[in-house]
């Protein structure tokens, strides 16, 4: 008992111990540069492709809004899960998060979107809402009327003989305006994402 008491007193009377006890500091917490944090703007101009919103797995985490005289993605931090898919899906490099953007540029990797239109003929009433609402259709054929009829062969879809027919699936931008305007949920847009890589010339692995 006595021995151990002396041992403890000696242990705690050491200047090194007292110094450590009074002035010890843990290293400040730092975020490493490779940490995949909330996406931040890089300063490049947003082209309003909206691929970030389409790729985002968390509902309501990102939206593209008017900022000043252009478009800008805005992150809602309470909803964002910091997956970084928006950074990878953006074709213009507007956002950055951790080292995703620089790795993408070095390795030539990207996420490519393709859009497919599926129409359920049993549900479709041929009302033409989809063809009328489609913003691409509107650009191609400004004359496109309320019934969805069009004389142009270049539109994405049009109503012919009481049924909607898809002519140019590849022109679809995946905005899903047709899907939301369909009264019977007959039309559905599938947003298909594909991870690809084209290594830049002359770069080693």
């Amino acid at each position: 008992m006595g021995y151990s008491l002396i041992w403890y007193l000696k242990e705690f009377a050491r200047t090194a111990w007292i110094k450590k006890f009074l002035f010890a500091k843990t290293a400040p917490l730092t975020t490493p540069s490779y940490f995949r944090g909330f996406p931040e703007p890089t300063g490049r101009i947003c082209q309003h492709a909206l691929f970030c919103m389409m790729a985002c797995p968390a509902p309501g985490a990102i939206e593209v809004v008017h900022a000043g005289n252009g478009w800008m993605p805005r992150i809602h931090k309470g909803h964002c899960i910091r997956c970084g898919l928006c950074v990878e899906a953006c074709p213009h490099g507007v956002l950055k998060s951790g080292r995703i953007l620089e790795t993408m540029e070095r390795e030539g990797s990207s996420l490519l979107f393709s859009f497919r239109i599926a129409i359920d003929p049993d549900l479709c009433t041929g009302c033409g809402n989809c063809a009328t609402a489609c913003p691409v259709n509107k650009q191609i054929d400004a004359q496109l009327g309320a019934g969805g009829h069009s004389s142009s062969e270049e539109v994405i879809m049009r109503v012919l003989d009481g049924d909607v027919q898809v002519l140019h699936e590849e022109k679809c931008t995946g905005c899903k305006t047709c899907e939301t305007s369909c009264p019977t949920r007959a039309i559905q847009i599938a947003r298909i994402l594909e991870g690809t890589q084209q290594p830049p010339e002359g770069s080693g692995p």
Partner: protein, 361 residues
């Protein structure tokens, strides 16, 4: 529950030793346990229902969030199932990087499981050492993937980002350090007389009983059954993987199997880094329609995904079969019965490493 004895002791759902809520209703005769019933359902998320009708880029993140401590393997099994459906091939470099991420995740999961066992048998010192070691593993995982837990590293046809040469070197250095510490801590556990008192000969799960209860993963391997889904995985076969088995069938051997597997994972990662093929990390490929059943080895055992997808690669139907349910059953029907005290119930239950989040999804 039919009452056959007069002492009925409930443990949980809130219990300092359990990582997640589960209720064990123990029938005790004196201190001896004669029967256990497990009650689950405290953290049902219904995640399989949320997954339906979504494309892979959304389901991938949901799959990760089934379980927080084995998230990488959920991602891997889901993505590899989708690849099997769609006939997508993975570039060899990406396959090796997947193994690295998966093994790092296995290491941290096993270290956490062993921490929680040490904590349960009141050996907090060793427990905290193991947690500290786990932090280093998590840092490596973060350096590789960009996030500690929900990495989202794999996508159909490859992985998200490549490993940089300087990061590969740092990983080698960290592995050396981790292995040195791990050897010390394994020695502490293996030779500790007090640990042996609480662990050796407690919670016996014989080989026959393990087969009867369909135990999987380290729980089965500690009972001498060399079952491991990694044996069927092409990349692991290339790496010449052999599972670790022990024959003692008790708590001690279950924890030691996990320590052995952490060492095995370190060796696998080293081999991956040595033999890392050059080339691209993404092969591309679009998810298609199909139906499949795909299994992978989670840290706790065999994890199976049944998936049916439509022509656009959206999930129509999905079922997840997780390893913990079998281990919990094995635990309640075989291991705990005949335990000498209530204290052994919690330690035996924790030694089987039940993951309730996985089990209830």
């Amino acid at each position: 529950m039919k009452r056959t004895v007069d002492v009925n002791i409930p443990l949980g759902p809130i219990h300092p030793c359990f990582k997640e809520p589960a209720r064990l209703k123990c029938e005790a005769k004196g201190e001896r346990i004669v029967g256990v019933e497990v009650e689950l359902g405290y953290m049902k998320k219904g995640i399989e229902r949320i997954m339906k009708g979504r494309p892979w880029q959304e389901v991938m993140f949901l799959a990760e969030r089934v379980c927080g401590i084995c998230s990488v393997i959920h991602n891997m099994v889901f993505i590899e199932a989708m690849e099997q459906i769609s006939g997508i091939t993975v570039p060899p470099r990406a396959a090796y990087l997947r193994v690295i991420a998966n093994e790092l995740d296995r290491m941290q999961s096993h270290l956490l499981a062993n921490f929680s066992y040490c904590y349960t048998i009141e050996h907090e010192t060793l427990g905290m050492y193991l947690l500290d070691l786990r932090e280093q593993v998590m840092d490596e995982l973060e350096r590789l993937t960009g996030a500690r837990v929900t990495c989202a590293y794999m996508i159909p046809g490859g992985v998200r980002c490549d490993i940089l040469p300087e990061n590969a070197e740092l990983l080698q250095v960290s592995l050396d350090r981790i292995e040195k510490d791990l050897r010390r801590y394994t020695g502490m556990f293996a030779d500790g007389p007090m640990i042996a008192l609480r662990s050796r000969g407690v919670g016996i799960l014989t080989q026959e009983a393990a087969q009867r209860a369909h135990a999987v993963g380290p729980t089965a391997r500690a009972s001498g059954i060399p079952a491991d889904c990694r044996l069927n995985h092409p990349t692991y076969r290339q790496l010449g993987f052999v599972p670790d088995c022990r024959q003692d069938c008790d708590n001690y051997s279950r924890i030691m199997v996990r320590f052995d597997e952490v060492a095995r994972s370190i060796a696998l990662i080293r081999k991956c880094l040595q033999e890392l093929p050059s080339g691209v990390i993404r092969g591309g490929g679009i998810c298609k329609a199909g139906e499949t059943r795909y299994s992978g080895e989670a840290p706790r055992g065999e994890l199976t995904y049944f998936i049916r997808s439509d022509e656009f690669g959206r999930i129509v139907d999905i079922q997840i079969q997780t390893p913990s349910i079998m281990n919990i059953e094995a635990c309640c029907h075989e291991m705990i019965i005949g335990a000498d005290s209530i204290a052994d119930v919690t330690s035996t239950f924790v030694s089987a490493d039940p993951c309730i989040a996985c089990t209830e999804r």
